[in-house]
């Protein structure tokens, strides 16, 4: 197989889907997200198009990553302090965010789905 068939929504990724401000002060509705090996809780978040929100992420155990390339989200979630990620969804869709800081054997399946409606 060549990569031709793997070109899914890469073009869409170029568009600014969300306004992202890692570490910014809380804006709009604050949504708590907990990270622990090997899951985010909740595992899925439903967001409204155009509504600013702040994801307030904490870790219950070790350092986790908080990464969604298409949306430009790239944060470290360290235990003992909350990390705030401000978002304003500007496009509908389903985006999978992953832990990209290795945290153990189940790390590869640690993800959070952001559904923008």
């Amino acid at each position: 197989m060549t990569t031709t068939g793997w070109r899914w929504a890469r073009a869409a990724a170029a568009a600014a889907l969300l306004a992202f401000g890692g570490g910014a002060s809380a804006a709009g509705r604050v949504i708590e997200v907990k990270a622990k090996r090997f899951e985010f809780s909740p595992a899925e978040l439903r967001l409204k198009l155009g509504e600013p929100v702040t994801l307030r992420v904490t870790s219950a155990d070790v350092t986790h990553g908080f990464y969604q390339k298409e949306l430009g989200i790239d944060a470290e979630i360290e235990p003992g302090r909350a990390t705030e990620v401000a978002l304003t969804p500007t496009r509908a869709g389903r985006f999978t965010l992953i832990c990209d800081h290795f945290c153990g054997a189940g790390h590869g399946n640690m993800r959070l789905v952001l559904v923008v409606e």
Partner: protein
């Protein structure tokens, strides 16, 4: 405006064709002409060593220590792969392992036991030149410390019959990345070679963005490819994705091997990264080694890597019914 384009194409093709026999076609019949011999000598001199045909095998993602629903047979596929490789008519001169030799465990003692078990199984290969890079399951938890104790450095380079091999670690940092220090090492290593030198990089994660939301990427992979860009003949072998895949970029060809534990689905067709279910009727389905033949390319600028997928089927490589029984220990006990 057709003429200038055709002319450029003609020159390019002609130039490449001129070198075809020169660099790689070292058989007497091909290098018989004085022009061919002369070009071969010049290119071998430029590269430091002429390329002579040989074959090597890539094995990947053996995950020694893993046992679960996607593969209840543990290391059997790995063991079969060793048998298959040992049974090849043309013995490979090298065997390259592209990471995740072991499945991670919590304690150091168990991790060490799995690494030793890997070594024991790999030592069954007739090919004595075996080289590996770690996967994140081997090295991410402790920055590669235990891997180094057991296997040695995680990034290194060597030459074999005129081909420069680079083992590139992109797993032993917490993030999926190579890191500035290792990129500096790569830059230094490559600087010793002319742009005509054939280069094979073997690594674990893809060096391009295959599917970031499945962590099938390397954050600074593009920087490594930028360092490799001047080189005319680059092949990147990788694992991690547990399926075959070929991706051609202007500055290199990326080839992924199947795993020897379980298969992941096609990301273009599957919504979730879930291992393919185990099929007791075809326990080695979608697993297997990839046999690579290195040899003359179509031109002086290419190293041909012929590929042959070897599926480890029960019928072909076991030849007994014993394997089925191994899947059901209770039957044996009864």
């Amino acid at each position: 405006m057709r003429h200038p384009i055709d002319r450029r194409s003609f020159l390019r093709i002609a130039g490449l064709s001129l070198g075809a026999g020169a660099l790689y076609r070292v058989a007497p019949a091909l290098a018989a002409g004085p022009g061919g011999r002369d070009t071969a000598r010049r290119l071998a001199r430029a590269n430091g060593e002429g390329v002579t045909p040989f074959s090597f095998v890539q094995l990947s993602d053996t995950h020694v220590g893993f046992r679960g629903p996607p593969n209840p047979t543990g290391t059997l596929a790995f063991e079969r792969a060793v048998e298959v490789v040992n049974g090849l008519r043309e013995q490979p001169e090298l065997v390259l392992f592209t990471g995740d030799l072991t499945h991670d465990a919590e304690g150091r003692a168990e991790r060490l036991a799995r690494m030793r078990r890997f070594q024991q199984l790999a030592s069954g290969l007739r090919a004595k030149a075996r080289h590996a890079v770690p996967g994140e399951h081997d090295a991410a938890i402790d920055g590669g410390a235990l891997y180094r104790e057991v296997f040695g450095e995680t990034s290194y380079a060597f030459d074999h019959r005129g081909v420069h091999f680079v083992a590139l670690d992109n797993v032993s940092r917490p993030k999926p990345e190579i890191g500035a220090e290792r990129l500096a090492w790569l830059r230094q290593d490559l600087a010793r070679y002319p742009v005509t030198a054939p280069i094979v990089v073997f690594t674990h994660r893809p060096l391009f963005d295959l599917k970031p939301e499945w962590e099938w990427f390397t954050r600074d992979g593009a920087e490594a490819m930028k360092l490799l860009a001047p080189y005319e003949n680059v092949t990147v072998l990788y694992g991690h994705i547990h399926r075959e895949h070929v991706h051609q970029e202007p500055n290199g060809r990326h080839v992924a091997a199947r795993s020897l534990i379980f298969a992941f689905p096609d990301p273009a067709a599957a919504a979730e990264k879930k291992p393919a279910p185990f099929d007791p009727q075809r326990p080695f389905r979608n697993l297997g080694p990839r046999l690579l033949h290195a040899g003359p390319g179509a031109s002086s600028r290419t190293l041909a890597l012929g590929m042959e997928e070897v599926e480890l089927t029960l019928r072909e490589h076991s030849g007994t019914e014993g394997f089925q029984q191994l899947l059901r220990p209770s039957t044996l006990e009864g």
